[in-house]
Symmetry: C2
Subunit: 336 residues, 2 copies
DNA sequence: CTGAAAGCGCTAACAG
DNA sequence: CTGTTAGCGCTTTCAG
């Protein structure tokens, strides 16, 4: 079953290739009867245009690239869902790449994008990313880029974020109200501005509350689960054991719960916890988890919508701005 | 910054286009010094080949398509992670499409694949899919296809599945052992063989246990959360209230927990529950959730590895077989 | 309204 | 070892 091409249609209909091409695009310069004949035959022979030929010719791939550190994470999976839904609506294709928190992978992937493989890029940077040359290079190639969630201030483009500082402030404030006096903040990477904003909110809440200087309440976690477990065990067993924890990222939640269980610490009595999490299981956890929940799906959607504006409108100048969609604090038993 | 092409390299080096092309592919018919010059200039000018030109020429996209019903689900997100990891290792690109359980979307997406956009396809069908013409048509185009998890027996290709019947049997058996006598099975779609296998295992366990005929213990749920909630409330309030539940799919778990809470039913005392779930939160749920956990990541990986075999080896005949990777039953408090 | 022709960037014969 | 050439399938001037 040889692929049938525009040429085959032309031959069959005794028309020129150019005419058929225009007819298929419903060009106004083609007569109605001709168009009808072309459409009819195309349908009959089940003609499907070769996307790579069009892409080569038109320098347009109808494809966007999505680069995220992780996918087995409710935030990212919901964000991707949002992205995919708008892409599908627009007839675009979505290439997914996982950096797995590796700067090298991220660099490699963006490097490839310079080829014109994608018409636009949605990026949430890896936790290792501090050097941003690869991102600037991509921008220099005039490939539209929207950053979401894990953004980089220095890159001039539109960024979709949530109110990290404020929501972290609120979370911390809530713990303080509930009587916590030794709150630890589980940090995921000092390279991530999103993480640092959350730290800022945390510290601001502490100082506003006159809780005094906080020595070492910021715990640097890693990308390695085992290591994190060890870290958690250590701090939960120390004399300086915290009475409150803010987990700045979803994947640290379960380890905290498990560590508490092993060490026979009662949540919320001995330790209150609030997580940045989009997990649907939060309300049925034991105890139910107080969360800062990000508008993941919405963020993905917005990011995609803005990206497509830049992709579709010629000389659309991507504004250098932060679009902030607020998170919600859901108070549940873990921080009662 | 005009894109630099193979022609620019050739001009600059006073070589022919063909020579440069071969040099870049490290062809043995090019002298070492020439290759070195070519590589040097390519690096210096930051030459990046146009993928669509190669694809058009070579009828090879270096891209695979992944079609799944959902992504905000631990099974699928982990499976995709497995797929992406092998694709990335092979230098392939991954197009993701969500059908959102819609047959029409699935049909449309596979239709597009006939264009040659992808070199191979990984598919997990939608819950609406009963007609499989679109899949067979894809196969007719000689596009390698591997089905995973939600497969179709009738399609002759390799399928990566788990031991649905057996694991469902074990789960049911466990509930019976714990004293359940009225077990309801929450079914997601009678079109899905995976669902039906689980039902089979369920019924077999019941009959092996001589629990007698089971009237209407199979509850047909839908894709709509609200509706499912209503259904659950109804059965949990009825006189015939079950004392055990098997949730054949992760997303039904939380609704059951919430319904029980509202109706003041104690899990596991009044109702025991086992879910097919890959949620990492299972051990910290209230009560901790007994799960049948599928080897999601492994399944994705295996599916991809086999797909690449077919994609890369010419005349590789995809065996028509089921590759079964077993699930694990994790017994926790919800079914004590 | 339709046709002819050039060419997107690359690859692979084939020739030399 | 290097060069020439003919396309892959499509779009888009430009003529007619």
């Amino acid at each position: 079953m040889a692929e049938i091409s525009i040429r085959d249609l032309a031959k069959e209909l005794k028309l020129s290739i150019g005419t058929v091409s225009k007819a298929l695009k419903d060009s106004h310069e083609i007569s109605i009867p001709t168009k009808e004949k072309v459409f009819a035959l195309a349908r009959q022979l089940n003609y499907i245009p070769n996307p790579y030929a069009s892409s080569l010719r038109g320098k347009k791939s109808n494809t966007i690239g999505v680069v995220v550190p992780e996918i087995a994470d409710s935030f990212f999976s919901h964000a991707i869902k949002g992205i995919e839904s708008v892409a599908q609506g627009k007839g675009y294709h979505v290439l997914i790449y996982l950096t797995d928190e590796s700067f090298l992978k991220e660099e490699f992937i963006l490097q490839d994008f310079k080829s014109g493989r994608v018409d636009g890029v949605l990026l949430s940077i890896s936790s290792e990313t501090s050097n941003i040359l690869h991102i600037e290079q991509l921008k220099k190639k005039n490939i539209p880029l929207v950053l979401f969630d894990r953004t980089v201030e220095e890159i001039s483009t539109t960024k979709i974020i949530t109110d990290d500082l404020e929501s972290s402030y609120k979370a911390t404030h809530h713990l303080l109200k509930r009587g916590c006096r030794k709150i630890s903040f589980l940090s995921i990477s000092r390279h991530l501005s999103i993480n640092n904003k959350r730290i800022e909110g945390f510290l601001k809440a502490l100082s506003d509350h006159q809780a005094g200087a906080c020595r070492n309440n910021i715990i640097d976690c890693t990308n390695d689960n085992k290591q994190n477990q060890a870290i958690l065990h250590k701090i939960l067993q120390s004399a300086e054991r915290p009475d409150g924890i803010i987990a700045s990222v979803e994947k640290l939640t379960i380890p905290v719960y498990l560590a508490c269980r092993e060490l026979q610490l009662n949540i919320p009595r001995d330790l209150k916890i609030i997580s940045f999490s989009n997990s649907e299981a939060a309300p049925v956890m034991n105890p139910s988890l107080t969360t800062v929940t990000q508008p993941a799906y919405e963020m993905g959607k917005r990011a995609a919508i803005i990206l497509f504006k830049a992709v579709e409108k010629k000389n659309f100048k991507m504004p250098n701005e932060n679009i902030v969609i607020p998170s919600s604090l859901f108070i549940r038993s873990s921080a009662e």
